[in-house]
C-alpha cells in the first residue's frame, strides 16, 4: 500500500433493514374499501368526528374508531402548498400542488395532489373531486386516486370546512 495516501477521514456505511409492515386493523378496513374505489371514514364513538384515513383511534379521545362511514370523493381545500422541489423516489415533476383536503362527510383533512388546475388559482375553500386511476390499477392505497381536480361548485366558507355532510356543499 502506498505511503502517500491520505489518512482515512470518512467511511460509507450501508444500513439496509428489511421489515414487514402491517397496516393495522382499522387502516386495513379502510384500505380494503379504497381497493374497491370507496372512501370510508371511521367515526369516533365518543366525539362523533369522522376520520379519514383512519389510523386506529380517534386521536382526540384515545378510543378505537369502529363505525364505518362511506364518504364522498368530493372534497374541500383546507389549505395547500405549491411544491417546487421533487419528492424523493416519486415521478411527479414540480411544481405541483399538495393540498390538505377534507372529504365531504369527514371532519379531518388528508393530503393529496391537485391537478387539472392553474396553480395560481387554487384557494382555500375550493371544491374538488377525485380523479381515480383505471379500476384495474386499484390497490390498497390512496394512490388509487391519481389526484383531485377543481369542480364547478361554490367555495365553502372557511368556518364550514371540515363540517360538511356527505351530501356535500349546497352553497
Amino acid at each position: 500500500m502506498s505511503e502517500q495516501q491520505e489518512p482515512v477521514t470518512g467511511i460509507e456505511v450501508p444500513i439496509y433493514l428489511k421489515y414487514n409492515f402491517t397496516a393495522g386493523a382499522g387502516p386495513a378496513r379502510f384500505l380494503s374499501q379504497v381497493k374497491k374505489g370507496v372512501l370510508t371514514g371511521q367515526r369516533c364513538p365518543r366525539c362523533d368526528q369522522v376520520y379519514i384515513p383512519p389510523r386506529g383511534s380517534c386521536a382526540a379521545c384515545g378510543v378505537a374508531t369502529e363505525e364505518e362511514v362511506v364518504l364522498s370523493d368530493k372534497a374541500t381545500v383546507q389549505s395547500f402548498t405549491i411544491v417546487s422541489i421533487p419528492i424523493p423516489n416519486n415521478p411527479i415533476q414540480p411544481p405541483y400542488i399538495i393540498a390538505n383536503l377534507v372529504a365531504d362527510g369527514a371532519n379531518i383533512s388528508f393530503i393529496h395532489l391537485m391537478s387539472e388546475c392553474v396553480n395560481e388559482d387554487v384557494r382555500i375553500g375550493q371544491r374538488v373531486q377525485a380523479v381515480w386511476k383505471p379500476e384495474e390499477e386499484w390497490d390498497y392505497a390512496m394512490d388509487n386516486i391519481r389526484y383531485f381536480k377543481p369542480i364547478d361548485e361554490a367555495d365553502v366558507p372557511v368556518g364550514q370546512i371540515g363540517k360538511l355532510p356527505v351530501s356535500g356543499w349546497k352553497g
Binding site: 477521514t9 470518512g10 456505511v13 444500513i15 409492515f21 397496516a23 387502516p27 384500505l31 369516533c44 366525539c47 368526528q49 369522522v50 376520520y51 389510523r55 380517534c58 386521536a59 382526540a60 383546507q78 389549505s79 395547500f80 402548498t81 405549491i82 411544491v83 417546487s84 422541489i85 419528492i87 424523493p88 423516489n89 416519486n90 411544481p95 399538495i98 393540498a99 390538505n100 371532519n107 379531518i108 388528508f110 393530503i111 393529496h112 395532489l113 382555500i124 390498497y140 392505497a141 390512496m142 394512490d143 372557511v158 371540515g162
Partner: protein, 387 residues
C-alpha cells in the same frame, strides 16, 4: 416544592453543514467539554448525563447513548435518553433540570446533538411507508399550508416572513457559532430566492446543520459557587397534543398556548412582552415568528406580524423584545440540538454572556422548542435572579 436549579455551564459546537473532522462521539464530546469548561468542572463532578436527539435514523445508530457513554464520561453513572421529535432539545433540558429540581442529583450534564450530515435528514423524514401516499416533501411541505392559513387569517403583508428571514440572519452574523453567516443579506435577496414550498422561500427556511449543545445544571448551593453567574430556572413546561385530530387548530395550537401559560405562571409572568427581556423561539420557517408571537401571548391573535414589522423583535432595530438574538433555527439547525440551543441561548442572555448578540440588561428570558407537526412543546424561563 421543586428545588432551585440553575444553568452553570454552557457549551456548543460551531454549527456547520458537515463536521467532517469528528466522529459522532467527537461532536457530542466537544459541546460537553465546552460546557464543563464554562462551569469550571471536571468529568468526575457530574452525577448523571441526560442525552437528547431526534430520530436515530438521522445517524443510523440505534439508541446512541449506549455508544456515547465513554465520550460523555458516563461510565458508572445514570444516563437517560430523551426523544420528543424536534422539541427534544428543550425536553431534554427540562428532564435534566428535573434530575436536580427533584433533589435527586446535585449536578448533571445534558447534551443534545444531531450529526444529520451522516444521512440526508430530508430522506429520513420522507422514508415511504407501505399503504400511504408518498407525498411527503419534507418538513416545509408539511408546514407551508399551515403558514398559508395563517396569512389568510391574519391578513399579514406578504413580506413579514422575508423580514424575519433577514432579521434572524443579521442576528446570526453577530454569533460566531451560527451556521449561516450573512451580514450582507437583504430583503430583496430573500424575496428573490427560490420558492420551495409556496409560500416558503429557500431563504425563509432553516439550514441543515451538524452540531451539539450542552449544559451543566446544578442545585442551588453549588450554582452559587460557580465561576460565572448562574441562570436560574424559573419555570419549566411541556405539552403534547395528537398530531391530527378533528378540529385541531394547527396555526395556533392549544398545546403551545397551554405550555406558555404554565411556564409564565411558574415564573410570575403576566405580560410576556413586558416581563421578558428576550426570547429564543423555535422558528424553522420565517412565518413561524409571527405565528408564535401570538401563540406565546406576545401579541393578540392576528397581530403578531405587527411586532415583526415594527422591529420589536430585532436587535438591530433596538426592539423592546428581541427574538432569537443568536440567529435562531433559521441560522443553525442541528435538529436534535436546536431546542436545547434555544434554552441555552436564553440562559446565556441572563448570564450576560452572549457576546455580540447580548441583549443589554437581559434579566429574564424564554427558551422555546416545538416538534413534530407542532404538537409537542417544551419551554423554560430563566432569570438572572432566583425569584
Amino acid at each position: 416544592m421543586a428545588n432551585l436549579a440553575a444553568v452553570v455551564g454552557i457549551g456548543q459546537t460551531k454549527y456547520t453543514t458537515k463536521r467532517e473532522d469528528v466522529s459522532i462521539a467527537g461532536l457530542v464530546r466537544e459541546a460537553a467539554q465546552n460546557a464543563l469548561q464554562d462551569a469550571g468542572l471536571h468529568w468526575d463532578e457530574i452525577d448523571a448525563v441526560i442525552l437528547g436527539k431526534a430520530p436515530d435514523m438521522f445517524e443510523g445508530v440505534i439508541m446512541p447513548e449506549t455508544y456515547l457513554t465513554d465520550a460523555l464520561g458516563c461510565n458508572g453513572k445514570p444516563m437517560l435518553r430523551v426523544h420528543t421529535a424536534g422539541s427534544v432539545g428543550g425536553s431534554t433540558a427540562i428532564v435534566a433540570a428535573s434530575h436536580v429540581q427533584s433533589g435527586t442529583f446535585k449536578r448533571v450534564l445534558t447534551v443534545s446533538f444531531e450529526k444529520q450530515s451522516e444521512s440526508n435528514a430530508m430522506w429520513a423524514l420522507s422514508s415511504p411507508q407501505p399503504f400511504s401516499t408518498h407525498l411527503n416533501a419534507g418538513a416545509g411541505g408539511y408546514f407551508a399550508p399551515i403558514i398559508r392559513e395563517y396569512m389568510r387569517r391574519s391578513e399579514a403583508p406578504y413580506n413579514v416572513g422575508i423580514k424575519v428571514a433577514v432579521k434572524d440572519r443579521l442576528h446570526g452574523a453577530r454569533n460566531p457559532l451560527a451556521h449561516l453567516q450573512r451580514p450582507d443579506i437583504t430583503m430583496k435577496e430573500v424575496e428573490d430566492s427560490f420558492m420551495l414550498w409556496d409560500p416558503i422561500r429557500f431563504l425563509e427556511s432553516c439550514p441543515s446543520s451538524d452540531g451539539a449543545c450542552a449544559m451543566v445544571i446544578a442545585c442551588e448551593e453549588l450554582a452559587e459557587q460557580g465561576p460565572k453567574p448562574p441562570a436560574w430556572i424559573r419555570g419549566v413546561a411541556m405539552r403534547s397534543e395528537p398530531t391530527m385530530y378533528a378540529g385541531r387548530d394547527e396555526v395556533n395550537p392549544q398545546a403551545g398556548r397551554d405550555c406558555a401559560a404554565d411556564v409564565y405562571r411558574q415564573a410570575g409572568i403576566t405580560d410576556p412582552r413586558r416581563d421578558l427581556d428576550c426570547a429564543e423561539v423555535y422558528v424553522p420557517f420565517s412565518w413561524y415568528e409571527p405565528m408564535w408571537l401570538e401563540n406565546l401571548g406576545f401579541a393578540p391573535e392576528g397581530e403578531g406580524w405587527k411586532l415583526t414589522l415594527e422591529g420589536a423583535t430585532s436587535l438591530d432595530e433596538d426592539g423592546d423584545i428581541p427574538w432569537n438574538p443568536s440567529g435562531g433555527v433559521l441560522s443553525s439547525n442541528p435538529i436534535g440540538a436546536s431546542g436545547m440551543i434555544r434554552f441555552a441561548e436564553a440562559a446565556r442572555q441572563v448570564r450576560g454572556d452572549a457576546g455580540d448578540h447580548q441583549v443589554k440588561g437581559a434579566r429574564l428570558a424564554l427558551g422555546h422548542a416545538y416538534g413534530g407537526g407542532a404538537q409537542f412543546f417544551a419551554m423554560w424561563v430563566v432569570g438572572a435572579n432566583k425569584e
